[in-house]
């Protein structure tokens, strides 16, 4: 048995070391990752995948810790993937979400993994999707993905999650602007955390006001749940809303979403393959080197050169 097969088998058996190794593979080795995912794919699709996003400091990690406890109380096993940004300058990352969840570490029914975005333009690490599949195949009932960032990365979370929870808190100032922008579109549930603070109701009203601007008729109207993550207050209600949304999806959208998700993944896979096969082919040709020399000589710019190469390719 190859190493990858061995790890895949371990993942399916729920072995934690194998899960950890598998996630390392999808972070580092695209080809082995493909083989690994192929091996486990038939065993995925059972977990409910929840995306938690919102501004830094809103209390997402603290809230996840309480959510996991409540899920455990309800008899569910849970996987957590906490994504933090990679520094664009050093390539390093400080993965600090786990600090708030350390008390869950010894629970056999919980697996927590920190990941860095690795400067993936989409914000959310490309490997996150595969990591979710690994935890799903390993039998976790619920998988929670935490991301932070502005704009596109939060929108990207939709591609991974079935239920998107946008977490906000009073006192984060301009961050409400971010909510008005991309986040409104993607939220299935809003959380106003730090409800122990007196201006929490103001935040609720702000969100309601923005929601009312959208007068489209919707099958699902995103509820707003107030929580105090430090005490766990409101967390059972949040889980109830998430469960309601899950059932809603099952009734109406699960089919459609998985279709779209499968399509997006298929298109992405095709794009990867096509691009690399064209590049490999071009590289073997004489004119590739010739035009390369022209670029070096500043006789042509790279974009025009690429166009030229590809146009000849089509003819």
């Amino acid at each position: 048995m190859s190493k990858v097969e061995e790890i895949a088998k371990g993942v399916l058996a729920g072995d934690k070391r194998s899960i950890a190794k598998a996630i390392t593979i999808v972070e580092n080795k695209p080809e082995e990752a493909q083989r690994l995912i192929a091996a486990i794919y038939p065993h995925t699709g059972k977990a409910h995948i929840i995306g938690l996003t919102g501004p830094g400091g809103a209390g997402k990690s603290t809230l996840i810790e309480k959510m996991v406890r409540e899920y455990r109380r309800r008899g569910k096993t849970v996987g957590v993937i906490a994504v933090d940004p990679t520094s664009p300058f050093t390539g390093g990352a400080f993965l600090g979400d786990r600090i708030r969840m350390q008390e869950l570490t010894m629970d056999e029914g919980v697996f927590i993994r920190s990941m860095a975005t690795r400067n993936n333009p989409g914000g959310i690490a490309k490997a996150t999707k595969d990591a979710v599949k690994i935890l799903d195949a390993a039998g976790k009932d619920v998988i929670i993905v935490e991301t932070v960032g502005a704009g596109q990365s939060e929108v990207d979370i939709v591609k991974v999650a079935q239920t998107v929870v946008v977490v906000h808190a009073p006192g984060l100032g301009d961050e409400i602007q971010a909510i008005k922008a991309g986040l409104m579109e993607i939220a299935d549930i809003f959380v106003v955390n730090k409800a122990d603070r007196e201006n929490a109701d103001k935040t609720v009203i702000d969100i309601q006001a923005v929601l009312q601007l959208d007068d489209r008729v919707k099958a699902w109207n995103p509820p707003i749940v107030k929580t105090v993550a430090v005490t766990g207050e409101g967390v059972p209600q949040l889980l109830d809303k998430i469960e309601e949304h899950r059932q809603f999806l099952q009734r109406e959208l699960l089919q459609k979403r998985s279709w779209e998700k499968a399509q997006a993944e298929l298109v992405e896979a095709i794009r990867d393959k096509v691009t690399s096969s064209i590049i490999e082919k071009l590289k073997r040709e004489k004119r590739f080197e010739k035009i390369l020399q022209q670029i070096v000589n500043r006789e042509i710019d790279p974009a025009t050169a690429a166009e030229k190469l590809l146009n000849q390719e089509m003819e």
Binding site: K3, I7, K16, R17, I19, A20, K21, I23, T24, I25, E27, N28, K29, P30, E31, E32, T86, S87, T90, G91, G92, A93, F94, L95, G96, R98, I99, R100, Q102, T105, M106, F111, I112, R113, S114, A116, R118
Partner: protein, 140 residues
């Protein structure tokens, strides 16, 4: 065997605080320095048991563990950590320690597999250089 496909293996480091220390300034300074050197650094927070540290290292699949301790309990806690690492098969992880550790304890700590011990006030560059040079080059 070199890796299949392109691999950009980042060094993943766990900075852990075993025992009952009440502050973690030093640990955070080291964590920041390692991050600034391009590593992915996971920090456990204060008051971790050996079991929690080893379980975290396993789930996060780290290459390196840095143990930071000030309380004087290293001779009680470190052997337990090393024992658990062995038990879980995490034998290729590079383990170093820092904080307040008397000179005379170092030989014993090295014997149980702590590869390096940095005293208080060690320049962070020195720790960064050490980790860069000694982190295991793992295939999986």
């Amino acid at each position: 065997m070199q890796s299949e496909g392109k691999s950009e293996r980042k060094i993943r480091v766990l900075i852990a605080k075993p025992g009952l220390d009440s502050h973690d300034r030093g640990a955070k300074v080291v964590a920041r320095a390692l991050r600034d050197a391009g590593m992915e650094v996971i920090y456990t927070g204060l008051r971790q048991t050996p079991e929690q540290i080893v379980e975290t290292a396993l789930q996060e699949d780290v290459d390196v563990i840095g143990l930071s301790i000030l309380s004087g309990a290293h001779m009680a806690l470190f052997p337990r950590i090393m024992e658990l690492l062995k038990e879980k098969g995490l034998t290729d992880v590079l383990v170093f320690a820092g904080g307040i550790i008397p000179e005379e304890d170092i030989p014993e700590l090295k014997k149980i597999g702590i590869r390096e011990v940095f005293g208080p006030g060690t320049p962070t560059d020195k720790i960064v250089k050490y980790v860069l040079e000694n982190a295991p080059k793992r295939e999986h």
